[in-house]
Symmetry: C2
Subunit: 348 residues, 2 copies
């Protein structure tokens, strides 16, 4: 099963809010609903968000009642605004919308139905490519993993963060399938616990041994020599190699560097945003305080009534803390600028 797929004019996706206890499939036929599913995190993970955006644009084309090419293009531009507004940080959302609009504007598509047909095919192609790209990232990244490694992993970057297979977790899975013995320390990844809920669930299915840890404990395991590599994905990579990723990645990367442990970001080239000179330009989403406050133990909320909270969803890890950036087109090492340009150019 894929994380998201197209079936007879309907977008279907695993509702990841229900995992690990139930596999619930959500179905959408309206691009606004798909945008909402991204905002509300039915689906998350930069590549999966990209695929969802592609399918949302295909839905928008089918929804439009325009009979002319121009009318349809107008409707698609409006839909693009809705989809782009779903979440601000992941580059893949904007990349996928732009890719879909680029197809829609092809001069060879002279009538509305031709545009519609091309967009459905393009969204499907984008999703299929995502799986193939994930496996190429996996093969490139697996060269960095040794038999016997304990790997510290942040957030979820597996099949659930992509259409299938994964980015950083896909690398771990590939190394496991190559026969390397791996143990994973799973950052629980507060506040939404993508590690404890999703990564642990995936690792159980792959038969890879793991322990969930509080994010707070990563430094302890690095400092006591119990973790040999750090792997994470990213939501956006700037031209200089600065990496925006799930909140906590910056502190994790600091702890890796302080102990001489390599820290690897694994991203498809669609996550690389060469238009931004550095990470300071990446918009950081701040989500609802409820994500921090609503946890319970024994049926009781954990914070006092009336407590307030802040909840930035991402942080920027400066490139000086990143050992290498693994992409489907190769492993980029510092200085990142030229290498990132090369792997992006190779993807075009």
């Amino acid at each position: 099963m894929r994380t998201i797929w197209w079936e007879d004019g309907t977008v279907k996706m695993i509702d990841q809010r229900q995992l690990p206890h139930e596999v619930v499939i959500a179905e959408f036929t309206d691009h606004r609903e798909v945008a909402r599913s991204i905002t509300e995190m039915y689906i998350r993970g930069a590549p999966a968000i990209g695929a969802a955006a592609g399918f949302a644009m295909a839905l928008a084309a089918l929804e439009s009642t325009a009979t002319t090419r121009e009318g349809l293009l107008n409707d698609l531009e409006a839909a693009a605004e809705t989809v782009r507004a779903a979440r601000p940080t992941a580059a893949n959302l904007f990349w996928a919308v732009d890719r879909m609009l680029g197809v829609a504007h092809r001069g060879t598509l002279t009538d509305a139905d031709a545009v519609r047909e091309a967009l459905v095919a393009e969204a499907q192609a984008l999703a299929d490519e995502d799986v193939e790209i994930s496996k190429r990232m996996g093969a490139n990244g697996a060269t960095l993993i040794n038999d016997g490694d304990t790997i510290l992993h942040h957030c979820n970057t597996g099949a659930l963060a992509t259409v299938d297979w994964g980015t950083a977790l896909g690398v771990i899975r590939m190394a496991h399938e190559q026969g390397k013995r791996i143990h994973v320390l799973v950052d629980e990844t507060r506040p939404r616990l993508q590690g404890a809920r999703l990564t642990a669930w995936e690792l159980q299915q792959y038969g890879i041994p793991y322990d969930i840890i509080s994010d707070n404990a990563a430094g302890y395991f690095l400092r006591t020599g119990q973790a040999h590599k750090v792997f994470f994905g990213a939501d956006r990579v700037a031209a200089n190699g600065d990496v925006a990723n799930k909140i906590g990645t910056y502190m994790l990367s600091l702890a890796a560097r302080d102990n001489g442990v390599p820290a690897y970001a694994v991203v498809p080239t669609s996550t690389i945003d060469l238009s931004l000179p550095d990470g300071g330009h990446i918009p950081i989403e701040e989500r609802s305080p409820d994500e921090v406050l609503d946890l319970q133990r024994q049926g009781r909320p954990l914070a006092p009534a009336g407590a307030s909270a802040r909840n930035p969803a991402f942080d920027v890890t400066p490139h000086r803390l990143v050992t290498a950036i693994v992409t489907e087109n190769g492993v980029v090492r510092p200085p990142f600028g030229p290498g990132l340009q090369a792997v992006v150019a190779a993807a075009r």
Copy 2:
């Protein structure tokens, strides 16, 4: 109300596992039960654990049926072993037991009842001194806080971590009472959420504005200039200034240093263990995986069934990351060795 007190031969303490929703008072008349209350974290925080250990030894003296001084001293040595075994990391536990045994062995106490009477008085004195020491720490530390500061705080170090008033949170409270406007970013402090449960509850009572954050988010706030100081307590400080404190303190201190933000440890001199040359010698407690795994949202556990976890409760922050160590006898700055010796000598 104090966190722990003595009343007619009974030790009473707030059961902190029930906070912030209920103030439940636990009562014990057996030193083994007090030791268990430390292990199970009815009471926590290094100074509060020290006070509990003192009262436990007083209870042990009253429990003993020995009629001779020698018989009572034998029973007290056995009780000391039980109390010392309650938790391994906080220096104050061992310090308090040793202080009580020192009193018990005084040559001037020639019969068992004199020893009993002296131990009850000493436990009470230890608790009373803890409050006075907390306020001196507060006054010393408040000089480091400016009007308008936003302070990042880890774990709970307030009245609940001591007999009353607090260590790091006591400093913040003192600065607040001096009229300085302060905002606190409260690390929720996974896995047991002492920040979200206890520190937020205390700050509400003191009228100090705060926001709870995921521990993961501390780096974001430091890197974006939204936190001006970092304050935490400690469970043990080695002779070179290495600090063992609640898990996550090391990563927080790394993030502070990476952004030029000062990081202050606030401890009574009873937390300083000059017998250990550095933090590598401090025993680190690993607690039950259930503390990591048992969180729920909407009544459902968050990790998959059968998930495994690791749960180290403390980490060591190397002295190079600590800006200063605030004690009741003054603020110690690097190189820490001579200064720590001086403040400990001044306490004798």
